[in-house]
Amino acid sequence: MDVPASRRCRSIAGALLAGFLAAIPIEAVSITRGPYLGRPDDVSLAVVWLTDGDSPSAIEYAADDGARATVSDPDVSSKHVLRLSSLIPGALYRYRVVLDGQPLSDTHAFRAPRDPADLTLHFGVIGDTDGVAVPAEIAARLATVDIDLVLHTGDVVYPGGEESGYDAQYFQPMAPLIASAPVLPTLGNHDILTDRGAPYLDAFVLPANDATGDSRFYAARQGDALFVSVDVESSEFGAGSAQYQWLERTLRDSDALWKFVYLHEPPYSSAESNLAVRFILTPLFESAGVDVVFSGHMHLYERTVAIRNFATAGPGIVYVTEGGGGATFAAFVPQDFSAIVFARYGYLVVDIEGGNLMLTAHDLDGSVFDSLELHKTVPLVHRAIPERIAPPAKHPSAPDLPARP
């Protein structure tokens, strides 16, 4: 079929214009936030960063054993979220943000999510990260520890979880940590003061729950442990609510050896307990075999003795409050359920090797001032050799990444 001359001219002009535009170099952009890690599901990580201009997104990453890959998104944007899938479970990776093949960020390292049969796990716990100096010190300390992920017990940005406060109060002071370990937070009462937590939900890449479809509450599996974030600030959690039913189902259906719940307001605290949480949720935690419940809200460190059926006799759940992220200390009167309560700034590290759990509470200088050991018998089914996911093929154009710092 003949093409009219005018249409041929328009096509040629269009092609020339497209070629011209393609030849214009993308204006130099720089990173204004990140990169930091998100954890959208149990087998992937996400790398997130913001730039001061629109640009395509690209990440180069490589496992320590040499497998290298690039993941990219040609769509231009100032917010970049790239999901890294098909990672070797539990393997160490290096990554950097690139633009046009040139590095846009330093090289960082992370550990890929472990598969359920992996009996080793290390994670940190922080909370109530108010101000800049204390969170920065905590981040610097934790960044030197080999951890898979970090739980944040809520109140990420003060005073009201404003979007404008995230860079100065969270992303910048926490930069060394959040580039190498995903932070799994729970909503705090301060976080929800701005648009019911919209900046928080926008900042973190988290799993979505299948009850409401968002990440106000969610669960993540890492190795032989289940981590469940409960929202006691902006969602209903009473019996019959969507969250309660989801929580019941999620805890009941998990075969994880270790089950951890984290929520902002502690059901047991020598400063102030959230008794609604105690009334409504702790019986469910107990019946579902939860081992440790982490909270914040009270600006101190506290570890309870094992509690079951509202009493301190015999085995039960240990409730740990880690709210020493920089906010003004809370007043407290030690209660009978308290094993130790101490107003201090710091963080927790939890190391799991099979059926052995070691929790250590650290000061800002890294020294350990409290520890807890829990032991379980590992069922044989948990010792099965996992079927590893095949590593990604080497990307033909991916350059070697600098050595892991």
Binding site: A239, S273, N309, F310, V333
Partner: protein, 285 residues
């Protein structure tokens, strides 16, 4: 027929009924006559189905939360229009979560107090008024879970107004309001509570020589926190509104009684939500 007037003690129990409502029976006006004694006994039971949080979200309990209270009040009038009173309260609490193998209970004296009453109104006034002032104590709050005491000592001031039985009308109305102010505030915001209740109804007949009245009541309460419920949920403002019927039987030769059932029906915020049933009996000597 002698008729109730003035409110006596403890409109808000020192540690309070679970829904912090006043005693049903104001002291009979006869108790404000010099040399008279009055004794009140008021058992009540309450059930909370849910806790309504600060955002107004109802968080339903996965089990039953029950309270039973017993209030005792004794007053003596050394002067006309004036009475001294003492009161004490006992509470029993029980929570039985569905998922737990056993229930937990707590009980004990929830509070005590001393009050004074003054009614400047003449015996046959159309709207007799009674003022009260008191000091109520509830020491020894522990962890707060199912505690029977909230640990807050407080001063209380209140006013009670009612329609006079000497006015020839079948309509009956009662109005009571009070303000509490806490003394202990070292590690928590200063405690205050404002409470009001209105009853309107009519005399429906006589039984055994006493007047039988049926009334509808509605009330509201606002407080700086929830500890007055004996359950420290949050140290933030708590409020609730309640409605329910009241049946009163007065004037049986020094005896009086009342029964009420109320439920939290509106404006519930940072507070328990449920129902309460109370009965009261009085003997004036």
């Amino acid at each position: 027929m002698r008729r109730l007037a003035g409110l006596l003690p403890l409109a808000l129990l020192a540690a309070g009924g679970v829904f912090a409502q006043p005693l049903l029976l104001p002291p009979p006006r006869a108790a404000l006559e010099r040399g008279r004694f009055s004794f009140d006994l008021e058992p009540s039971t309450a059930s909370a189905d849910a806790f309504v949080d600060r955002l107004g979200q109802s968080q339903r309990f996965p089990g039953s939360l029950r309270f039973a209270d017993l209030a005792l009040l004794a007053s003596w009038s050394p002067l006309s229009h004036f009475a001294l009173a003492a009161e004490g309260n006992f509470r029993w609490s029980r929570y039985a979560p569905d998922a737990a193998p056993a229930s937990i209970t707590a009980d004990g004296v929830s509070g005590a107090g001393v009050l004074v009453f003054w009614s400047p109104s003449a015996r046959d006034a159309a709207l007799p008024v009674t003022f009260r002032a008191g000091y109520l104590t509830a020491p020894g709050e522990s962890d707060g879970f199912l505690t029977v005491r909230d640990g807050i000592d407080r001063a209380q001031f209140g006013v009670h107004v009612e329609s006079s039985p000497y006015v020839s009308s079948r309509w009956r109305a009662f109005f009571d309001t009070s303000a509490d102010s806490g003394f202990q505030e070292t590690d928590r915001p200063r405690f205050y509570a404002l409470w009001t209740r209105l009853e309107i109804g009519g005399c429906v007949g006589t039984i055994l020589g006493g007047e039988l009245s049926v009334l509808g009541s509605a009330g509201a309460r606002i407080a700086s926190g929830a500890p007055q419920e004996g359950l420290v949920f949050h140290r933030q403002q708590a409020r609730n509104g309640f409605v329910g019927p009241v049946i009163r039987l007065d004037g049986l030769n020094g005896w009086a009684g009342a029964v009420t059932g109320t439920w939290d029906a509106f404006a519930v915020h940072n507070s328990l939500k449920g129902w309460r049933v109370a009965a009261a009996i009085r003997r004036v000597l």
